[in-house]
Structure formats: C-alpha cells, structure tokens
Point group: C2
Chain length 481, copies 2
C-alpha cells in the first residue's frame, strides 16, 4: 500500500516534470526545430500518459506517508526528476550518451552546474533553456524542502534543521505550508525576473539573460556560452551576478521575515552575518593577492569578488582561470569550497551555520578548560541554543569528509590524479561543480569514465539532500519495521 502510494507520487512527479518541459517544447515548436520537438514531446507524452490515470483514478487513496517514508520519497524525487530530465538530452541527436545525459540532468536538479558538454554554443536553444530550467527547479525544490516542508516533518526531519532552529521550540516559519510556499515562490520568481532584466540591461540577449538568471538564482553556474559570464566582459553584468549569487546563497527564511517585516530577526541572524563576513574577508584577501596579477586594484577586486561569491555560494562559475593565480588566492578558494552557502538557500556545501556552530563549540571547549565546571551553550541568532545542536553537526562534518574521501579514492582508482580526484569529489558533494586540476575553470567532466559519472550523479544528489536523507536509506534499521 505504501509502495503504491510512493509510486503514485513519483508517477505524478513525472507528469509535473513533463509540464516543466512545456516552455522548451514551445520554443522548439516556435523555432520549427523538429528534432527538438520530438526530444521533448516523446518523454512528455509518456509521462503524461502515465501520470493522468494516477491523478484521476487514485484520488481516493489515503495519502498518509510517515516522516520516515519522506526520506525515501525525497531521494526518489531527485532521482526520477534527474532521469526524466535526461531524456531530452539523450533524444536531442547531439551525440550525448545516456550516462552523460543523466549526469547533465542531475547536475541541473542538484544545482551542481557541472557539465560534460565541451561546446554548449552549438546546442539548440530549447535544450539550453531546459538545461537552465532544471537548475532553477532544483534550486527552488531544495528551498521548499528545507524551509517550507522540513519544519513540518518534526525531529526526524532534515538534520540541518536542528542547527537552524536553535530554540527549545521548533521555529515554524508559518503554520500553513502552502502560504509559505507561495511566498517563497514569489520571492524566487521576482528575484529571477529582476535579474533577467538587469542582465538584459547589461547587454545580454533576452534568451541568455533568462537562462543566466535561472542558473544564478539556483547557484547553478552554467551558461549558454562556453566562456560563461566572462563572454560578456562586462563589469556591470559581473557585479549584478555577484549580488544575486549572494542573495541566492542566503537563507530564504530571511526573505520570508523581510516579507513579514521582522527586520530585527534578519539583522540578528548569525548565519547571514557570518556568511557576509566570510565573503568580505575572502574578497579582501583575494583582491590584495591579485593586484600583482591584474596590475590594478579595480581588476583584482572585480575578479576576486566574483570568484569568492561564486565559490562560497557553490555557484561554481568563473570569470578567470584561477589555476594561474598565486597560492594564497587558490588557498582561499579551496577553503571557501569547504564552507558553502547558508542553510535553506539554493547553495550547497557544508553550510555556514555548521561552521558557526563548530567554531562556537571550539570556543566553548577552550572555556571549559578554564572553567571545568561550567556549562556552555551555543548562541545562535542572539538566542541560547540547545547544546545538542553540536551532535548533529559533528556527525555531519565527519560524514561529509568521509563521503569526499571515499568518493575521491574511487575516482583516483579509475586513474585520475590525486588533486583532481579529491577536488572533483568535493565539487560533487558540495554541489559547487568546480575545483582544481582536471575539474578547474574551463574544464568539463567529459573525460571521466562512465561508472564515475554515475557515482558523481549519486553523490551530487546525496550532497544536495544533506547526506543524512540519502544515507539513512542504506541502513538496515531503515528497512526494518
């Protein structure tokens, strides 16, 4: 019965993904691009044929899934979306293998923004639109999940939440999920629309402006141009991009609070403050270390700020080949890859809040040495938090490092050099998509063997879903009832 219900939801999901394809199909029809019409119409047709009876005939099903089922469901939602989203690439006649198509689509829904396609400029526009839209939906999906849905799942929900809700009571952002969801969609769409207009004002074609807005808001970082944002060589476009990357990497809870006029809570948000501090500190160090490279403080700031925002928010696009930068600049970028954006944002990574918790915990341990009988709490958002916030964060930190290490070793076993292996693993788990070595700026994932691409697709989804959600499915206890 539960299995049937899960199946029903997933089949309906395929229908929803099919609806998401409508704009791309429309573009293909408008352009008279018959192969692309087929590439979209075929999967859409099958999905809708499957979904329609599920929507009509199974309405009366009691739709009660436990929080525990939620983990499996969330994982399968990302898997099925990625598989369904892969079909247009595979059917496009652009010589994209099935493995590459799945990798590309998963990069979209996980907002990783990596690619195996060396030349995107030859791709038909409908496919480019779809590529950007998968990121946009993936980004919105994760925000909905962490900000709107998870608080309802209770303690068993996303572990991240424990770090987000430091008070003794769970801080539900609204009792009515649908109301919250609507506000978040609205914020997301308005920001995307504003960004599209700004990009267009900066000199992008409307189509490119829209695609770039989609992926920037999703912390995705892919482009319709091979050289990315750098193609436009526009300080205005890059500045706008930095601003909106940072906005996309903020906890969307803050936009909800803004909507409700809770300005004090926004100002007192620990994670947001630390996030901006890290961005500014990284930008200053990058700028100073880049002056000798670019000859002027202005250019150093331009390229430094862009790369700091792009890596910190796990967008992972680049306007410069930072492999040519000095060691200090590369070191800063490496550190930023381990930080990530804010919780409840479209950004990936370990997340700023977890670093803040562990930083405070390290301080508490120092204090405990001096005052052995003292009890020290973690203060978040100017409120004293539960001490056991640290448990979840400590376990996560270790699991994160372990997943990177195991992934990297498997990649290295396939013949990749050690620097590329570890930075590819980090780039996939943290959804940044960009690293050093063969996954550095201007490179693609095309050369990895097929089994590594599948591994990457898996760890991207695992990283996107905060690891726990996925790894709990691999415990025997999960399946024992």
């Amino acid at each position: 019965m539960r299995q049937l219900m899960l199946l029903r939801i997933l089949v309906l999901l395929l229908g929803i993904v099919a609806l998401f394809m409508v704009p791309a199909l429309g573009l293909a029809i408008a352009g008279g691009d018959l192969p692309m019409v087929k590439a979209f119409a075929l999967p859409m047709g099958i999905a809708l044929i499957l979904a329609a009876p599920a929507a009509v005939f199974t309405r009366k099903f009691p739709s009660r899934l436990s929080a525990r089922d939620g983990f499996l469901l969330v994982f399968l939602i990302w898997v099925f979306s990625s598989l369904m989203g892969a079909l247009p690439y595979y059917l496009s006649g652009q010589g994209i293998t099935f493995t590459d198509a799945v990798f590309e689509s998963t990069c979209g829904f996980a907002t990783t923004g990596a690619t195996t396609i060396n030349d995107v400029e030859v791709l038909p526009q409908p496919l480019l639109l779809w590529r950007s839209m998968t990121h946009w939906f993936g980004g919105m999906g994760i925000v909905m999940l962490t900000v709107a849905l998870v608080p309802l799942l209770g303690v068993g929900g996303f572990q991240l939440l424990k770090a987000e809700t430091p008070g003794p009571e769970k801080e539900k952002i609204t009792p009515k999920v649908t109301a919250t969801a609507k506000i978040l969609w609205l914020v997301y769409m308005v920001l995307t629309a504003v960004l599209t207009v700004l990009f267009a004002l900066g000199g992008m074609e409307w189509f490119d402006a829209l695609c770039h807005a989609f992926t920037t808001m999703a912390s995705g970082g892919i482009s319709t141009k091979n050289s990315g944002i750098a193609y436009y060589d526009s300080t205005f476009i890059e500045t706008v991009c930095v601003l909106f990357m940072l906005l996309a990497g903020l906890n969307f809870n803050l936009y909800y609070k803004l909507f409700k006029g809770k300005f004090r809570e926004i100002r007192e948000n620990t994670e947001g403050r630390v996030y901006l501090f890290i961005f500014l500190a990284a930008t200053v160090i990058l700028t100073v270390s880049l002056v000798p490279v670019y000859g002027s403080a202005g250019s150093a700031l331009r390229y430094g700020a862009y790369q700091a925002a792009s890596i910190l928010t796990t967008t992972g696009s680049s306007t410069a080949d930072y492999m040519q930068w000095p060691g200090l600049a590369k070191g800063i970028l490496l550190c930023l890859m381990f930080v990530g954006g804010c919780s409840g944002s479209t950004a990936g990574g370990i997340k700023v809040i977890r670093h803040a918790v562990l930083f405070k915990q390290a301080g508490n341990e120092l204090r405990r040495i001096i005052y052995p009988r003292g009890i020290f709490s973690i203060t978040l958002n100017k409120k004293v938090g539960r001490r056991d916030v640290v448990y979840g964060v400590a376990g996560f930190f270790f699991l994160y490092m372990a997943v990177i290490a195991v992934t990297a070793l498997i990649v290295a076993a396939s013949g990749t050099d050690v620097v590329s292996s570890f930075s590819a693993a980090l780039a996939m788990v943290s959804n940044v998509g960009l690293g050093f070595g063969t996954v550095g700026p201007g490179q693609t994932y095309a050369a990895f063997p097929n089994h590594i691409k599948w591994l990457f697709s898996f760890v991207m989804i695992a990283g996107r879903l905060e690891l726990w959600t996925v790894f709990v499915l691999f415990t025997p206890e999960y399946w024992r009832r």
Copy 2:
C-alpha cells in the same frame, strides 16, 4: 610567586636538558671533536649554572601549581626544551642558522622529524646523536604527559583524555604517578633496546641502529642517512621498522595493562582495534595499487606497508618516492595523514580515537533519524561512554582544520604553491613532517622563509600538545583571575 615557581621549574628543566646532552658530549670528547665539545659544553655549562642555585636554594618553595598553570607550564616546557636543544646545532659550526637550529630542535621535541638540513651524512656524530635523542625525549615526554600525568589533572586536563576515559569515573591507570611513570620508562627503554639490537642484526652499525631506534620509537622518522631507512635496502630492517612504528603508535596504556596482565581490556580496546584495521586496510589497497608500479606483489607489499605505517603513525619517513605512485595510492596516504596514531602514544595527528568517536556519532545521527525519540551513546572499549565525549572531539576536529587552513594560507602568502602550503601545514600540525609537493619524500624545509619556519615551530608544538593546551593560553579568560 606563581611566576617565580614557573621560572624555577623552567630553569630546572634547562638543567635536565643539559643532562640529556651528556651522551652527546661524551661522544664528542671520546672522538676528540673539539668544536662539538664546545657546542655542547657551552649551553650545558650555562644551563647547569642557572639550574644549580634553583635546585639548591629554592627547595623550600611551596610547589603548588594549579591545573590551569599546568597548561602554560607544559607549553613553556616544550618551548624552552626546543630553544635549549637548538644551541648545539647553532654552535656546531655547520652553518646552521639560529632559525634553522630552532626548527630542527623543535622538530625533535615535537617528534615531527622534519629537517632543513639537506646533507645529514656530513654532520658530526655527536650532533646526529643529539638530533635522534631530542626525538626520543620528546616522544617519551608526550607519553608521560598524556598517560601518566594528565589523568591527575582532572577535568581541566587534556581534552583528549575525555575521549580516552569513556566511563563515568575517570580511569586512572594507577594512583601513584611515579610508579606508572617508571613502568612506562621501562617499556619505552626496553622497546628501544630491542629495536636497536634488531636494527644491528639487520646490518646497521651500532651507532646508526641506536639513532634509528630513538627516532622510530618516537614516531620521529629522521635518519642518520640522507636516504633514510631506504639506504640499507633491507626487507628485514624495513619489516622490523614497520612493526616498531606500529608499536610506538599504540596507546602506552596498553603496555601498562599488558604489564598488569589485563589482556581482556587490551583485546577490547576500541582505538587499538580501529588503528590496526586502518593499517591493514590501507596496506591492502596500497599493495594492490602498487603491483603495476613494482611488478610484484612482494615489492608492492613491502613499500606499501612501510608507507602506510610511516604515515599512519606520523613517523613520516619514506622508503619510496610516493610522488611517483598512482593517484589512488597517494589518496590513501593523504587520508592517513588526517588520521594519525593512537592517543597516549608518541604519534601525532587527529588520533584514531577521535575518528572512532565521530564515526560512531555519525551512525547515531542516522539512527536518531529513524528513532527520533531514541538516545544513543558512544560505546568505547565495550563500555557505554558519556555522550558529551562528542563535544570535545567536535571542537577539536574543527580547531584542527582551522589551524591547518590558517597556517596554510600564511604559508601560501609567502609565495609557496597551494598543494605544498596545505600539505606542509598538515605535516606540521599533525607532526608527520612529510607531505606532498615541496615537502614530499626526499625534500627538506630549507627553502621556506624564516618567519614561516618560526610559524611551523609554533604549530608543531601546538599540534603535539593537542592544540587546546596551547590555544587556551591565547584566550583573555585564561589570564583573567
């Protein structure tokens, strides 16, 4: 008053270090090496002149220092030993600068085993003996501190201890520190003597055998030969070395238990089991990945096992240029650098016990997702431990990574490439002394600028003393009474 007492202890310490120099001085006199006689006699004379009145006239001082004073004292013991130990290098007439002398001496007392000396074979024997002996004393010092002394300091003591003593009661290994200390000295000396004989049987000269035994037991890894243990090209010597590196990396508590016939407790020791498992797993993977390099499973095992033991125990010597190894092998070594040996051993690093605690904590978090109302403890040594073990470990893990990152960025700012910067920082904080890039096998630290060598000397001591002990001295609260 307290300051005077600290000063008295430190002056006495200089006298003790001077006594440690007696064998080297004796060797210099026996060899009629006048410059080396001077290089040792001068600092010894000054130290003994300072220490004698402190020993004689201040006997009646009430010798009560608080546990809190202990942190400052322990840090200063390592600093003063390193400075005093640097004088023979500086005065040797071998062209060693003061900075390099301090770096070399600190590498000894911190058992890091790194060096700035490109050709050690031209050094006079008394200096080589002193170099090995600083490691031996440093190794014994840290074992005494963590196994014998710290349990007496109570909760405010080494944070590591909390992980070592999982039970509700503190597991003091003996009520009488002096009795424990004697047993540990005995074990350490017997192991060193046995190892010296085995090395000599393997074909080493007696002097070299003794020096190698000193540094192997201390997880130091330096040699009297430029090419290290590889100089002898002897499977017997390398096998003996692997065995004794592993013995030196075990918690010395276990030898005490062996002495007391508590075999069951030894078998049930979590850290020891995990440590051996990690060594075996790493060796198997290294061997498999090295067969194509060395052509035979035997050679692959020989070089793989040596390097696994050398890195895991933070000995940091090498019998092969692993920079030429495949990515998987290098990746395994990189992971081992983040593990380290057992607590209460002469090895450095994060330590196996902390990884075991975080691994179990990650498992508990997964279980907590499935059973949201469950309370899950960490089981160590087949006993249920206190949950708050995780607090100290989580804080330590973060502090460790932060110290590596900050150190690496400072190194990178001095113009070092990013791989060398990060691996040098890791090599210093974990006391492994060996890394990748310019700090790989067969390389020295000679090329780093002076301020970086001083930074390294500091972080070596901080790493050796489990970070807390040193960083607590930099908090305003420590100095506020």
